[in-house]
């Protein structure tokens, strides 16, 4: 066990935890932040995507120790009212079906838009290729990202 400090969704946290425990399970089990989901445990599906200092990471394979003194943003912290342009676009496009992967999808998309205000189809494909949606909502995700980019 080790004492680890980091910031989650703007709130400073300090905790005694196994430094090898994946960030995903620290968020979900210890901090009860359940927006990030477990899908594969091996960085293949992206359901666990959160931002670490603004960069999208697969929190299922990143040990919590890697977050020391860093800022973590989850879907819950993307916008205080859940009204990030992407979230609004997601609702308007009725993107989610089962919804399980969508926190991760939105976090990957948010990281893309933060760096690229007007992404092309190709840019979107590249940024989103790490996020699986088994319901196949990809065409709507792509449109929602473009709508959010235009709205932003």
């Amino acid at each position: 066990m080790e004492k680890i400090k980091f910031t989650v969704n703007g709130e400073a946290r300090e905790m005694e935890v196994d430094p090898a425990k994946p960030l995903l399970w620290v968020l979900r089990e210890d901090l009860k932040i359940t927006g990030p989901k477990f899908g594969c445990g091996a960085s293949f599906c992206g359901a666990c995507t959160v931002h670490l200092n603004g960069n999208p990471i697969r929190s299922c394979i990143v040990p919590v120790s890697a977050a020391t003194d860093k800022e973590i943003t989850t879907i819950e912290g993307l916008d205080p009212n859940g009204e990030h342009p992407l979230q609004k676009a997601w609702e308007e496009m009725a993107v989610p079906q089962c919804g399980y992967c969508q926190s991760g999808q939105i976090m990957s998309a948010a990281a893309l838009l933060a760096k690229n205000k007007a992404p092309t189809d190709d840019d979107i494909d590249k940024a989103m290729a790490g996020n699986i949606c088994r319901c196949g909502t990809y065409p709507r995700i792509k449109q929602a990202i473009k709508n959010a980019a235009n709205a932003g």
Partner: protein
């Protein structure tokens, strides 16, 4: 019996053909478990009129905006709050298909409610009130039947609740009920008096529900047929939706399991010392399906389970690999199978033909691979248990878990939450993972709620796959080149065999194996379909669109092949041979028209397929480009006839979803075995479709006044054959094996 089984998968193709409604009846056989049979006597299925008692609270946490005030139940499906909210009780599982929105819309329409006052919550497990009317007295979701079986029931529930509100208002205002108007969630009188639903909910709930209700004329629908936004879109875009994996219980422990690598293997002995030494591990218990580690964290349990040393008794387990299984299937395919369909004179047609075209098809096992790995929360009670999970077939889950715990099904409560995908996997005759979770909870020395999560490898290797199949096919064309005989011999496992649903296999034919082929829509004068039930110990299950997944591929690609042999146009010939099938023809014509001129140029190809499943009709036109020998799907144009589209946007979304799901399987999905052991372990070895392969998709809905039929599955079957037909057009190669990756095309 075969017809009866259709009720399980979906609506019968021609419901009007039945003189008496046939019902599946669940009969408890004590230790033998549940048996589902068929009866001609209507059972006492729930109707809103019969269910005037208040409804137990479901799982409000799953509802994005639960009602805040006190509520009064007007019937089993409608509750109205003092805060003027209307809550619809949803008896079906929601795993993406949009039922929470669709079912709520049906009630809101007949109730003349405002859309913004509508709420919903999941029903408790109670087949006496919440049975799927297509399943008999079984609560469950499947066969794309949610809207179809609820259509009349919820219209009546909404209309009945409205009549009760009107009666209550009329009494309070001392007028005749006919004088009370209802619109936009308000009760009004011509003299200007008005009131909300909430004001009259309490007095209305004390009234006797009407015996007969008047339903709206569809031309007056205000909500049905509109693309209303999904009620679960906001919570699912904000990380707030509750799935099984998010369920919390005080003192809850996390469990992971080790299964034998071979199907049918059992525990001979195990050494748990290393697993128990992991900090945080509470107990290691043996259960019928393997060995479970229970810990204070999932990560801990997952790590510890890898440290178990289990010796398996695989003497009764499946030892064959995919190669041996296909050899066995080929051997079976050489013999005559059980007859599923035989019309005309096949032998004569083949004798008279200038040439008999033959082909053999192979399809692999497929995993559902839901994004949320299989999981279930079990909390034992005094005499039973409370299960919290995305249950898809509550009545069967109750029966199986009760048997595991040595109690009766009524002692098993189910709190339903969102399912993170299913595609059939969560409706499992043996309730594998729910039973497993119950066994773990029961085996613990210290009682605690248990959340079982299969990690991805356990999930992919747990079986219950879409069965692999082998098909021997022959066909002939007449002198004009028109197809005139079709023969298909299906070799496949029956997943109903050995389950409580076994009673629905008739004369050696499991209709799930031959659906889509035995009822081929084309007017073949000579048609024969046979089936062999292969004996393999790999557990199999329905997988989004079930037998249609392979049979639509075989029939629709072979139809093109016969047309090419005969030198006739595949689309024109489809039109001729579907002349008596207006709904097939309707979607075919609409899809072809909307797709426009076929793209021309290097590597371009277009393929078309049309198929009926679950009483809905779908045609898909697939445009591709071959680039360096690999297939790129450019565009899919889809037309669907699902009767009246309750929510056209959700219908479109389900078609898009089915198309991507079908494409995913066609491109690269495959579970294969070596020495009885599954090779695939995660999404690297079981690659599913990702955004870059998703094509542009255009969906068109055929306007219809027919009662609504399902949309969850019917988008899947036409995709793969249309794609294969496009590949033939572009390359001259006929595809007879999936996935395409095997053929080097991906």
């Amino acid at each position: 019996m075969i017809k009866a089984m259709r009720y399980l998968y979906g609506a019968p193709e021609k419901p009007s053909g039945f003189t008496r409604r046939r019902f599946l009846k669940v009969v408890s056989l004590g230790a033998a478990g549940f048996m589902i049979g068929c009866t001609n006597k209507p059972t006492t299925g729930p109707t809103p009129e019969q269910s005037g008692t208040p409804v137990a609270t479901g799982t409000p946490a799953s509802s994005p905006t639960p009602a805040t005030g006190d509520e009064d139940a007007l019937n089993a499906f409608v509750k109205i709050g003092t805060d003027d909210t209307v809550t619809v009780v949803i008896k079906h599982a929601e795993f993406g298909q949009g039922v929470t929105t669709g079912l709520t819309t049906i009630v809101a329409e007949e109730l003349d409610a405002r859309w913004d006052q509508m709420r919903w919550e999941f029903a408790p497990a109670d087949a006496s009130r919440y049975a799927n009317l297509k399943f008999g007295v079984v609560q469950g979701t499947g066969g794309s039947s949610s809207i179809a079986n609820s259509w009349n029931q919820l219209r009546e529930a909404g209309a009945g609740a409205k009549a009760m509100l009107v009666a209550a208002a009329a009494e309070a205002w001392q007028v005749k009920p006919e004088e009370v108007g209802v619109a936009d969630g308000k009760l009004t009188l011509k003299d200007g008096r008005s009131g909300t639903f909430g004001e009259f909910a309490a007095s209305a709930s004390k009234l006797t529900p009407p015996e007969k209700v008047t339903l709206k004329d569809p031309k007056d629908f205000k909500l049905i047929g509109k693309p209303l936004s999904r009620l679960d879109a906001a919570s699912k875009s904000r990380g707030q939706a509750t799935f099984t994996i998010d369920v919390e219980k005080p003192g809850m422990l996390m469990a992971c399991v080790a299964h034998s690598p071979k199907f049918g293997g059992t525990v001979k002995s195990f050494d748990s010392a290393d697993a128990l030494a992991v900090q945080g591990v509470k107990e290691v218990v043996q259960i019928p399906s393997g060995v479970a580690v229970v810990a204070d964290s999932f990560w801990t349990a997952q790590n510890a389970v890898r440290k178990l040393k289990v010796e398996w008794d695989n003497s009764q387990a499946e030892q064959r690999g995919t190669e041996q299984l296909f050899a066995y299937y080929r051997e079976l395919a050489e013999k005559n199978g059980a007859l599923a369909k035989d019309t005309g004179d096949l032998a004569k047609a083949e004798r008279d033909a200038a040439e008999v075209v033959e082909a053999e098809y192979e399809f692999p096992y497929l995993a559902h691979a839901t994004m949320e790995p299989l999981d279930c929360v079990v909390e034992l009670t005094e005499d039973g248990a409370i299960l919290s999970f995305g249950s898809q077939i509550q009545t069967v889950d109750q029966a199986n878990v009760a048997k595991a715990l040595g109690t009766t099904p009524d002692k098993i409560q189910i709190e339903s939450v969102f399912g993170g995908g299913s595609f059939g996997r969560r409706a499992n005759p043996p309730s594998d993972y729910a039973v497993e979770a119950a066994h773990i909870a029961k085996a613990l020395k210290t009682r605690a709620p248990v959340k079982l999560i299969h990690d991805r490898t356990t999930d992919l290797r747990s079986g219950f796959y879409r069965p692999m199949s082998f098909h021997k096919v022959r066909g002939t064309v007449d002198k004009e080149g028109k197809p005139n005989s079709y023969f298909q011999r299906v070799v496949c496992q029956s997943f109903l065999k050995g389950t409580p649903f076994e009673g629905m296999i008739k004369d050696g034919v499991d209709s799930a194996m031959v659906e889509g082929a035995a009822n081929l829509a084309y007017s073949f004068p000579n048609l024969r379909v046979e089936a062999h039930m292969a004996e393999v110990k790999v557990p199999t299950l329905w997988w989004r669109s079930v037998g249609h997944t392979h049979n639509a591929f075989v029939t629709e690609t072979f139809f093109d092949r016969l047309c090419v042999e005969g030198g006739v146009d595949p689309v024109e010939t489809r039109r001729k041979m579907l002349a008596e099938k207006p709904r097939h023809l309707g979607v075919l014509n609409l899809a072809v028209e909307k797709a426009g001129a076929a793209p021309e140029g290097e590597g371009k190809g277009r393929g078309v397929a049309v198929h009926e499943s679950f009483s809905s009709f779908v045609a898909e036109v697939v445009d591709i480009t071959m680039k360096d020998g690999k297939v790129v799907v450019d565009k899919v144009t889809c037309a669907v006839d699902c009767g009246l589209a309750v929510n056209p946007d959700i219908v479109k979304a389900q078609m898009e979803s089915g198309i991507v799901f079908g494409l995913s399987a066609a491109l690269a999905e495959e579970i294969d075995l070596v020495d009885g052991e599954v090779k695939q372990a995660n999404f690297d070895s079981y690659p599913v479709a990702r955004m870059p392969v998703a094509p542009e998709i255009e969906v068109h809905i055929v306007p219809s006044a027919e009662p609504p039929s399902g949309v969850g599955e019917p988008g899947v079957p036409p995709l793969a054959p249309a794609l294969a037909n496009a590949i033939h057009r572009a390359t001259g190669k006929w595809i007879t094996k999936l996935p395409l990756k095997k053929e080097g095309l991906v």
